[in-house]
Amino acid sequence: MSSIISVKDVSKTYSRDSFSIPVLNNLSLEVDEGDFLALMGPSGSGKTTLLNLIAGIDKPTSGAITVGGTDISKLNESALAKWRAQSIGFVFQFYNLIPVLTAFENVELPLLLAPLSKSERKKHVETALNVVGLDDRMDHYPKQLSGGQEQRVAIARAIVTDPLLLVADEPTGDLDKNSADEILTLLDRLNKEFKKTIIMVTHDPHAAEKARITRNLDKGYLV
């Protein structure tokens, strides 16, 4: 397997008022294409920060991050936004669906940035919702769905552009056990059946079991 993600000597320090808070310290990591990696660790260990850096929604203080051959640490904001739209699918802990849009429209949202016709968008959205098993709820608004269903819509939104990499930040953190199992099964299926590379941040050992590889972080270091 070839490496799809290469994190080299990455450090990240946040500034809060007059304080500098180091979160990641000279961290290096390689992820192969098709991997399902779970990042675990206690609160404040830097796992979400690492995920954000790999997903291109934050920039490292030093070091280099290459994803799919692109050194994203050198991209400017607008190039990074374009790259995220094409390469990354996001799944958040709190789903982060737009409440005034239906499930269909929420999933369609990232496709508005792609050069697709209305019928092509419709086809993609229906396929994504079918994969997550919600093709019968596409006209429902987020408030009309359960937490598990909302997260499945969020996963459909993440995969609708067929991204290079799927990143999930505590995807089961806000769900009951049954719903969490459904989401983990879905992620597992996306990895195995659709060959999606997935990085998942979790503090739940049960969730981490679904991943092929687990890496632990502590105080900004991989252990």
Binding site: I57, F90, F104, R157
Partner: protein, 386 residues
Amino acid sequence: MKVFKLIFKNTLRHKLRTFLTILGIAIAVVAFGLLRTVVTAWHAGVEASSANRLITRQAVSFIFPLPLAYKNKIENVPGISKVTYANWFSGVYIDKSQFFARLAVDANTIFDVYPEFVLSKEEKENFIKERNACVIGADIAKQYNLKIGDQMTLEGDIYPGRWAFVIRGIYQPRDKTTDGTQMLFHWDYVNERIKEESPGRANRVGWYIVKIDDPNQSGEISAKIDTLFKNSTAETKTESERAFQQGFLASTSAIITAMNVISFVIIGIIMLVLGNTMIMSARERTREYAVMKTLGFSGRHLTGLIMGESLVISAIGGGLGLFLTFPIVQGFSKVIPKGFFPIFQLEPITVILACSAAVLIGVLSSIFPIQRALNTRIVDGFRFVG
């Protein structure tokens, strides 16, 4: 789904708040439209003034009269085609609240100098030959339900006594800006009675209206007229009709300026109201904007979304306000005495200003929320608790 649909859905997210903001903008536009209409009504006299008419009045003040004998001398100045004269009669018709211009005029020449007062040949002849005849504007006839042959009695104040007139003509205003609220009657009729009752005030006119052939010569002719009466007991001041009307407005300029300022203050206030609404909306959606940025939406997209929402609200409010302004201005024009504002209508410039103000409000109100949305880092947006 198009971005416009998202803008529209965002607009309706807090229906009551959006409704109240739209209502606020609509009320502001109505107030703006009304105030601007009053200001333009105030200026209607200036707009209606003719370039080929000069006004000759007493140099010290408009309230002092001029000798009738000046007429022949003015007529002899080259470049003048006609001279007529008028006196402000004032007086009371029905009661003191009924205000419109009542003027004693030279019946033989007044309509030659004011062709915008359209009168039939027959009515003009009847008016000239009957000493106590009067001509009234069509707006006055409509307001008081008067017709030819009816009597109008004035209680004199500047010229004391009861003055009875018979309506022999109703003139139609030729232009939109022509005053249709004047009452004109024979200066000779007034002068005859003044001769008997207070001879010292007889043979005096309020001002002369001078019709000239070439408006470009107005400065030169004005100077020639005033030179004629230099060092006399009643020196004159001659100026264009427009300058004369503007001189009247100068006395009320503070009120007009205040109205102008207030009309724009209203726009400023409503801009703050919409700005506040947009700031609240953008603040509530900080996390959503972070999500959209994460999905690849650029600053340009977010600018379009926020400004679009602001413009939708301001456009609906502005449109509603304009829609309501027309009947409200029309209603006001019926209620206020015709004589105060002979021309009281919504001018195209007011509509253009109101539309421009609505667009400006929409754009300016969105600047701060846009700036906030763009400057908030994605990771900070996700941490935001609204």
